[in-house]
Structures are given as C-alpha cells and as structure tokens.
Symmetry: C2
Subunit: 321 residues, 2 copies
C-alpha cells in the first residue's frame, strides 16, 4: 500500500509540529507546505498558496494549521472543496455551525473533512462522550492545566511596566478531589482553577501597581485565586518559555448504589506537538474514509478508533483488545 | 423513536448488573431474561432458554451475560444467528478467533455482534489504541487494580485451614511512577503489581503454615510482592465482600524531544456493574448498526463513539465536542 500524501497549510507553531509528527510516521509522506511566504525555515517543499488548486491530484490529505479566530472561518470550506482536510477548530460554541459548512463543502466535492481534532476539542471530547455513555448517572467536570494560557499571558503583557509574562492555569486540588468524589456540584470555572502569573518588570516599574492591576482585571483575573510572582529575566528565559498544557476529564458515575470513577489525564510538554499528534492521526481517517467512498464532515465522535492508527485492524485487535 | 427492546441471557452477577443498568436507560426496555431455571429473583419476565428461537421478532439486542471459559465458545455463535448480540468475551489471546466465528454467524443471518466489551477488554482497549495512535513513539503499560482477583481468591480458599479469603491485586506505586516517566522498560506483570491477601482461618489452623503455603504457591504468588493479613470473620464480612476493581492505562509518548503523558484511570466500586454499563451502551451500537444495514462482528475499536450514547449526534456535538 502506498503512503498517504499529506500537505500542510499554515506554518506557525502547529504547522511546524505537524511537520515533525509526519516525519515520524511510517505511512504518511509530506508533499509540501502551502505558504504565503517565499521562504520558510523548513527542508520541505514550499508551495505558494496561490497554487493551492493545482495540487489536487498529488495530495491525499491537507492539514489545515490555521487559527480558529479568522483563518478557518474564512478559508476552511474552500479548502474542503479541493482536498480531504483535518482541522483543529476550537471555538466550542461554533463547532455545529463549522461542521455544517464543512459538511456541505466536502459533500459537494466528494471529500472528507475531519473537524475539531486535537485534545480539547478532540481527545477530551471523546472521553466526555465515552464516560457519559457507560454510566447512567454521572457528574462530569473538565479541568485544564497545568498549562500556559495564551490569552491571559497576552493580557499580562499589555500592562504598563511588564516586560515579559506568562500565565499558567492550574486545576485547584480541592475542586479536583470533589469532582472525583462526585461532590462537585458547586464547581465553577472560577473556583476550579487558579491563575499563576510569572512576571519580569521593566526597570523602575512598580510591582505593587502591576499586581493591583492584575488582581482587579475583570473577566481575566477577578474572582479567581491568583498568584503573582516577580522573577528575573534570566529565570524567566530558563524556566518559562515552554508551552506545557494538559488537564483532566473527571466523570464520577453511579450505577444503582455503586460509584465508578473514570478519569482521563493529559500532561503535555508542548501543547502544539500533542495537538499535531492527534491531528496527524485523524488525517489517516480522512483519507481512509474518502477511499471507502464516504464524503462530508466528521467530528472525532463519528470516527471508529482503528481508522486513526498506523497499524492494521487485525494487528490492533490482537494487540490492544 | 421507539425504545430498543433488549433481553438478557445468563443471570449471574453480570446478568443482574445488566438488568440494573437497563432499568436506568431512557431508551432501552428489558423484554425478559432467558434462563434454564424456572424462577429467578427478578421482577423481569423469565423465558425458558429452550424458547430462545421463538422471540426473534420481539428482541432488538441480546446481552450475553455468559462466561468466557465455556459458555461463550459453546453458545455465542448460535445466538448471533438469531439476534444482534453483545458479549464480554475476555480471553484476550482468543479474541481474533472469537471475532471470526461471530462474524461468520452474524453475517450469515444479517445480524451485528459486538464482542469483547466491558473495561478490559473494552474501555482499556480503546485507550490503548487511541493513545498509541497519537504519539509516534511511546511506552505503554496497563495496570490492574486495586481490585479483587477471583482466581487468586479461589486459590487462597483451597488452602487447608482457610475459611474465607480474598486477594486484591494492587499496582506497585514505583512501577506506576516509572511508567508515567517513560522509564518502565523493566516493568513485568510480576513487579508491577502486589498481591494483598485477607484471610479468615478455621479454628486451630496455623497462620504460619497458611502464609508459607501462599508465599510458595507457584504461578499465583511466587515472584510477587505478597502481603498476608489475618483478620476476624466480622471484619472480613464488613470490609471484604465487595467486588472493587479498576486500573490504569499509562502511555508515555514522545514527539521529537517533547514528552506527553496520557493516562486513563478507572476506580470501580463493583466490577460487574461497570462491565454491565459498558456492555449495555454497546447494545445501542449493535442495534443502530443493524438498523443501518450493517452485519457481522465488531470490536469496540470498530465502532464510532457516538453510536453508544443515549443522546443524539447533534446534541453530543454541541455538548461534548
């Protein structure tokens, strides 16, 4: 069987991670990276985005490493008319709308579009569905972190006198314990997570003023347990330039009078790498479903697990079931 | 949409748990329990096993709550010729053979047979496959327990002077930690678990002799870390008559130079209840796949997650993805 021929569009953190993950696959080859730029820091072939329609016969699956804010809403449906696609669209409220648009585009052109892969949405979505299907009564909570929050780090960096800053979101241990015991009725987004800030100040800036600005910032920090740490630039550069993330899906189930805890945990060194790992695996499903004559959009809930694995079904059954 | 009409065959611990789980489902009704006995301790309709061929028009899915040692090998394929079925066949080495037999029987008669559901095989199988699909390099270990081991408890009860006994299998903390760090190359079944025995002796029996017999019992205890606790019958009856179980699937993955831990944990008050929870959910998939015109055997790896959930796909996508 010949390898799956893959391409990437978008070459930020996620695109670079997808390139790295594809390089480690036995059954997927990278044809090239579509980019607006002439030169990218890659050994891969760089193809001008303007030529995106010219490669429909050379590419089995297109990994759309595009942002959810504007790129995917603007470009994804048109790309799904040309290629089988995989995306990581993560605007949870808008996923049904995105699915409908991608479904129409992919069906019209005879392609498969796998949407909203990654880990949340993605692996966490799967675990929410599996866990709630197998226990008739349950309480289910998702916790995020310890992990870097891009939006909150940006908010810190906009404060006067802040030179560098990161914000980690960390699940509150007491909330986690309550969720595991099925006593998490009073858990909210705010009391389930604490917000840890690591800050390097500009020379002469007032740490007191900065801390006060943080603690009184509505939406972002008010109502949360907040930790503020001021550190040296050297410490910051050594310890706080990674992109760790992860979290837990905790389901406390009841069957009659018996209790059953189902917990799925991720601890990720580098968020875009793991997101890319999931995305690349679902590219197999996009290709295989299209090969089998299926068309339209699919979420991870609609795809049989074996379709994402490099091993064949018989080998998987012997090994994993 | 009318409810799924279900029946149970086999009314031991698992059959009773399946009855309890079905009673809590919004979309599944129990038609009856097939049994060799005239009277069962149930409010459900009891149907003689001899009449099993007479109800093919009244039953959408048959939950086969039968043992893997002899009942399933002897009876399952014949039942799959009559009904859509779900089983919990757990003889891992023989699952490919079982799948082939069930596939032939179900295809011949136009039914769907979902095989080897439960949690291992079952939910653990799913997690082994998902986790190993999304990281290109990995080390993966399955730990069982803390949980009651039926076979080991039976072995203890056969020792002279033992009145009552249970054996819990417990994951060794140091092995779990190694697995989480991706340093579990030397983990074996023996050093990954400790065996904890709780024993009530007959009057006049020698605890020393019993403990010695345990510690020198080949296969069952030799080579394991073993704890032996002698307790009163009152304590035994109060603390050790449950059927707790659970475990972990730990996958330490690598993407380039970054590390990614994926861990799935179950803590189950009562093993047959949770097994039944998974089994009942997969009954939905058996019925839905058959309604869609599919036939043959399916493992959990071959079934799209949404097919096992009581909620419809659109609602699941809005809620869980």
């Amino acid at each position: 069987m010949s390898n799956i021929r893959a391409a990437i569009i978008g070459y930020g953190n996620l695109g670079k991670s997808v390139e790295k993950v594809i390089a480690a696959q036995p059954d997927i080859d990278l044809v090239g990276v579509f980019s607006r730029r002439d030169k990218l820091d890659t050994e891969a072939r760089v193809i001008p985005v303007a030529d995106v329609e010219k490669h429909v016969d050379d590419i089995d699956v297109l990994y759309m490493c595009l942002g959810s804010a504007t790129d995917i809403p603007e470009q994804a449906a048109n790309l799904a008319k040309l290629y089988n696609t995989v995306d990581t669209y993560d605007n949870h409220n808008e996923i049904p709308r995105h699915r409908a648009e991608m479904d129409a585009a992919a069906k019209e052109s005879g392609h498969v579009a796998v949407i909203s892969t990654g880990w949340d949405p993605g692996m966490f979505s799967l675990n929410r569905t599996y866990a709630s299907a197998v226990v008739p009564e349950y309480e289910q909570h998702t916790f995020w972190g310890p992990g870097l929050s891009q939006g909150h780090s940006d908010a810190l960096r906009r404060i006067d006198g802040v030179k560098k800053a990161v914000q980690y979101t960390i699940p509150a241990e007491d909330a986690l314990d309550k969720a595991r015991r099925g006593e998490g009725q009073d858990i909210t987004g705010k009391n389930a997570h604490l917000r840890q800030c690591w800050i390097v100040t500009e020379e002469g800036a007032s740490q007191e003023d900065i801390e006060n600005t943080i603690r009184t910032m509505p939406d972002y920090f008010v109502g949360y347990e907040v930790e503020v740490h001021f550190i040296s630039e050297a410490e910051f550069d050594a310890e706080h330039t990674g992109m760790p993330h992860g979290g837990h899906v905790v389901t406390a189930g009841k069957i009659g009078e018996t209790n059953h805890l189902i917990e799925y945990t991720l601890k990720l060194d580098r968020n875009p790498d793991f997101t890319a790992g999931v995305m690349v695996a679902y590219g197999r499903a996009a290709h295989r479903l299209a090969q089998a004559g299926e068309t339209g959009a699919r979420t991870v809930l609609e795809i049989a697990p074996y379709l994402i694995h490099p091993l064949g079904l018989d080998e998987l059954i012997s090994r994993d079931v």
